[in-house]
């Protein structure tokens, strides 16, 4: 019985004990700290230097803020009681904050306090003390930032602090950053040649622009000239490699967007042979559905915001798919076998949809927010990856494979392929070809709607959204080969990557022009695209 009760209590007890243990040393330290701070206004500069040194040694977390205020001349002593305060300038005049407790002491009239003066020697001391303090700060990010700032400055005066921080550091990444910062400092100090060589090796391994900047001034140092040259070459290689990787990533990201926009087209154009010029507008409808869902959530249930896209996706698919089925039943159905007329009629539909959206939602861009799990970015090596782009890539691939599965494995997919390949025979076998046509068109349109949900996260949601993707997505389908989902995949990613690799050389616009010219030439060689259908279906 005792044990049963004790079990759930144990973690709380442990936590309590830990908290107590943590408080003890800081409490004893704090006594010294407060005493030292009180001593700051007294004496001359050399006394103050000793006091600052002593404060730095306490390692008290409040020291950093105190030093910064002192450095900026905001640390004052109150004339009335000698209390040390930090002045904060406000609109109505300065207010005083107790330097120790941080409590606000109200307004501080101009002559009621006296500034604690510092000279240049003290300023230098304060700066390195602040750096050293943040090197041992309990916050991991602060330590990392401090290490990076030392790497940038390469100040030999920091070596001691870095050594101290290194011996205390347990986080591997921070330790590496500290070692690299120390290497930069070593290079600047007149350290023995062997040590400097080791430092060069450490920086070379880091291999980014910061390491390059730290190494570059030493390229003519006679003792280590060969090592530095080799290291710089190695850094350049690494950077080039990461540059390529970053370009590939940008390309894949662009490609995923292109593929999403083109994949629905690949169904209507490729499978059904119908040119749907309103495809871009169906994408736009998907984006506006996302906007409408987010507006509704903002108004009635803000806590749902993170799920807004999950709610919007099926809705967008339904809205765009519904409109798609309406287009098919109302217009396209009457124009089968006349592809050019279909093209014109659907272009008309696209104009109507555009103007309808403009009338309902207004001509301006609409704000669609990122849910928290889609905002921000992270780094892989020297490459930045934004979460929204990554999720869109994942989403695009998921849609692609789901669609592939539907076409290959479902009964509907089977019917669809049958109608595509031989319409009269499929009808003979009892397939309702009209229904299959409508559903196929609806499927393509629904996927356009899904693309709209994804695009709303990275592009402006405006009535012109569809227009800006229609030429590109047609290029993807034409390049990849109509009637083939894999073609849309290869076409989308291929064009995306090629575009992003051309951009640094030629600029974005010229790159795009070159890609278009390339496709126009490419289609000469392979008029039916990369993955052309063969056999009877190809002639249809």
């Amino acid at each position: 019985m005792k044990n049963v009760l004790a079990l759930p209590l144990r973690p709380y007890l442990a936590a309590l004990l830990t908290a107590l243990a943590l408080m003890m040393p800081s409490a004893s330290r704090a006594a010294g700290f407060e005493e030292l701070v009180a001593r700051l206004p007294e004496g001359g500069y050399s006394d103050r230097a000793q006091t600052i040194d002593a404060i730095a040694r306490t390692g008290d977390p409040r020291a950093a803020q105190l030093f910064e205020a002192l450095l900026e001349g905001r640390l004052h002593a109150r004339k009335a009681d000698g209390r040390v305060v930090i002045l904060v300038e406000g609109a109505a005049g300065a207010t005083a904050i107790d330097a120790l407790s941080g409590e606000s002491l109200g307004e501080a009239p101009a002559r009621s306090t006296e500034r604690i003066k510092v000279n240049n020697r003290l300023r230098g001391m304060l700066r390195s003390a602040i750096g050293a303090l943040s090197l041992t700060s309990p916050d991991r990010e602060t330590r990392l930032r401090a290490a990076q700032s030392v790497l940038k400055s390469g100040d030999p005066a920091d070596i001691e602090a870095l050594d101290a921080a290194l011996s205390a550091e347990s986080d591997r990444e921070v330790a590496a950053a500290l070692a690299e910062a120390r290497a930069a400092a070593i290079l600047n100090a007149k350290a023995p040649v062997a040590e400097r060589r080791a430092a060069v090796a450490i920086l070379a391994a880091r291999g980014d622009a910061a390491a390059q900047a730290a190494l570059a001034p030493h390229a003519s140092d006679p003792a280590i000239v060969a090592e530095v040259a080799a290291a710089l070459a190695r850094i350049e290689r690494t950077q080039r490699m990461w540059g390529v990787a970053q370009n590939v990533w940008y390309g894949l990201s662009l490609g995923s967007v292109l593929m999403l926009a083109a994949i629905g087209l690949a169904i209507t154009f490729g499978v059904m042979g119908v040119i749907n010029m309103a495809h871009g507008e169906l994408v736009m409808l998907g984006a506006y559905t996302t906007f409408a869902v987010q507006e509704a959530i903002r108004g009635s249930a803000p806590w749902l915001f993170d799920f807004s896209l999950l709610i919007a996706a099926p809705l967008a698919m339904l809205v765009a798919g519904g409109v798609g089925i309406a287009i098919e039943r109302g217009i396209v159905r009457h124009l089968y076998g006349r592809p050019l007329e279909t093209l014109l009629a659907t272009w008309g539909v696209s104009l109507i949809l555009q103007q309808a959206v403009r009338t309902i939602f207004g001509p301006n861009n609409r704000e669609v927010g990122n849910p928290s799990w889609m905002s921000g970015a992270f780094e892989i090596g020297q490459m930045t990856v934004t979460w929204s782009r990554l999720w869109i890539l994942i989403f695009a691939l998921a849609v692609f494979f789901a669609l592939l599965l539907v076409l290959r494995r479902s009964f509907f997919g089977l019917q669809m392929r049958a109608v595509t390949q031989d319409r009269p025979m499929a009808a003979e076998m009892g397939i309702d070809t009209g229904r299959v046509d409508a559903l196929t068109f609806g499927l393509g349109a629904g996927i356009a709607g899904l693309a709209g949900v994804a695009l709303s996260q990275i592009d402006n949601v405006s009535p012109n959204l569809g227009q800006s993707y229609i030429v590109d997505s047609f290029m993807v389908v034409v390049f990849g080969g109509a009637g083939n989902l894999w073609g849309a995949l290869a076409g989308g990613f291929g064009l995306g990557v090629v575009n992003k690799f051309l951009e640094p050389w030629t600029g974005a616009v010229l790159g795009k022009i070159l890609v278009l010219a390339f496709i126009i030439l490419f289609i000469q060689k392979r008029p039916r695209g990369l993955f052309a259908l063969r056999g009877r279906a190809a002639e249809a």
């Binding site: 154009f269 040119i275 010029m277 217009i331 009457h334 124009l335 006349r338 592809p339 050019l340 007329e341 279909t342 093209l343 014109l344 009629a345 272009w347 008309g348 539909v349 696209s350 104009l351 109507i352 949809l353 555009q354 103007q355 309808a356 403009r358 009338t359 227009q467 030429v471 047609f474 290029m475 034409v478 616009v509 010229l510 795009k512 022009i513 278009l516 010219a517 496709i519 126009i520 030439l521 289609i523 000469q524 060689k525 008029p527």
Partner: protein
């Protein structure tokens, strides 16, 4: 000759003649300005559109090539003329440079790029307004038709072509005025562009060009060559197996059509006073198609009528109810393709034919 000028062509040309003579007279001071003066330039603009529509009808109606890039040929012709008009400004520009157009001075260019040389001569510019689109169409068509790109694939790559050109002309580095295009023209052939007489002259030139374009197109259609083109439209494979070099015929008609579009562009620019890269936009090129489709594909005269009708509707609607214009245009696309496959002219003649069953409709009409 009678084969070329059939009944509807005669009616149209007569109407055009009356318009060309009547409108300037009506708007002149002598007639008490019955029609406002701006109407001359406005209708002149419509006539350029009509010529452009005839050019497209020549390839689409006659030969079945649906080009979604004819706006590009039109714009190229326009740019050639615009470049000449820019050179004509001379030292009267804002910066007063005797040779360089304003935008080049603004971009700190030191000398005229090589492709601007020669445009100070009107005749060279006029030649380039035809040669540039013709050459582009020839090269593009040579690649496209040789490898048998046809149908919607051809439509899409012509659209890509005009889209690529639009992006290119938007760049300042291209040397065509970038975003703003070419504007601020002063005079043509030494005549003040704002003068009523010059405007009337340009209007008459447009009418003449439209009549000439119609006659040339009709002459091509009525010739043996025209018969082959129709054969290619209706059964390309069969025409090929009968021994006709399909790609040569297509290339010829495509290039002729592009030259015609270039002329239309060259006449259009001095009348509207500006040319900018927006003219290359794919939407513009598709709009040309609806002119032709509305008027009656393959009827030539119908295409010209359709262009003027749609342009008039656009002018009126965008002035009165700008919200409605895109609805109307979109609806037009849908209605015409679904219910008026032979266009207004076709429907009209069908109706007349029913009233007088003895007269059969012209046999060479397009049945797409």
């Amino acid at each position: 000759m009678a084969r070329i000028i059939d009944r509807r062509m005669a009616i149209f040309l007569a109407g055009l003649f009356i318009l060309t003579v009547g409108l300037p007279v009506a708007s002149s001071a002598a007639a008490g300005e019955l029609a406002p003066a701006y109407l001359v330039s406005l209708v002149g603009k419509y006539l350029c559109y009509a010529l452009l529509a005839v050019a497209l009808d020549l390839v689409w109606g006659l030969c079945g090539i649906l080009s979604l890039g004819h706006g590009a040929f039109f714009a190229l012709g326009g740019y050639a003329m615009g470049m000449h008009l820019m050179r004509q400004i001379g030292p009267r520009g804002v910066y007063g440079d005797p040779v360089l157009p304003d935008f080049m001075v603004f971009l700190n260019w030191q000398e005229l790029p090589w492709f601007w040389l020669g445009f100070d001569s009107f005749w060279f510019a006029a030649l380039m307004a035809m040669a540039a689109p013709g050459l582009l169409a020839f090269v593009f068509g040579w690649f496209a038709f040789r490898s048998r790109v046809s149908g919607v694939y051809l439509s899409i790559i012509t659209q890509a072509m005009t889209y690529a050109l639009m992006l290119a002309f938007f760049r300042n580095e291209m040397g065509f005025g970038g975003n703003n295009g070419l504007t601020d023209f002063k005079e043509i052939l030494g005549l003040d562009l704002t003068a009523a007489s010059t405007r009337t002259g340009l209007f008459a030139a447009s009418a003449l060009a439209l009549a000439g374009g119609l006659l040339i197109a009709r002459w091509i259609a009525a010739s043996k060559l025209g018969r082959v083109l129709v054969a290619i439209r209706d059964a390309e494979e069969r025409a090929r197996f009968l021994g006709y070099r399909v790609e040569h015929y297509k290339l010829f008609v495509f290039a002729v059509s592009a030259v015609m579009a270039g002329v239309a562009g060259a006449l259009y620019v001095p009348q509207v006073g500006i040319i900018n890269p927006g003219e290359f936009s794919p939407a513009n090129s598709i709009e040309i198609v609806i002119w032709v489709a509305l008027g009656g594909r393959g009827t030539l005269v119908g295409a010209a009528l359709g262009a003027m009708l749609v342009a008039l509707a656009k002018t009126l609607l965008t002035a009165w109810l700008p919200e409605l214009w895109l609805f109307a245009l979109g609806g037009l696309f849908v209605l015409v393709t679904l219910w008026l496959p032979r266009g207004v002219l076709g429907a009209l003649e069908d109706g007349l034919g029913r009233l007088r069953p003895a007269r059969a409709a012209a046999p060479e009409e397009a049945r797409a």
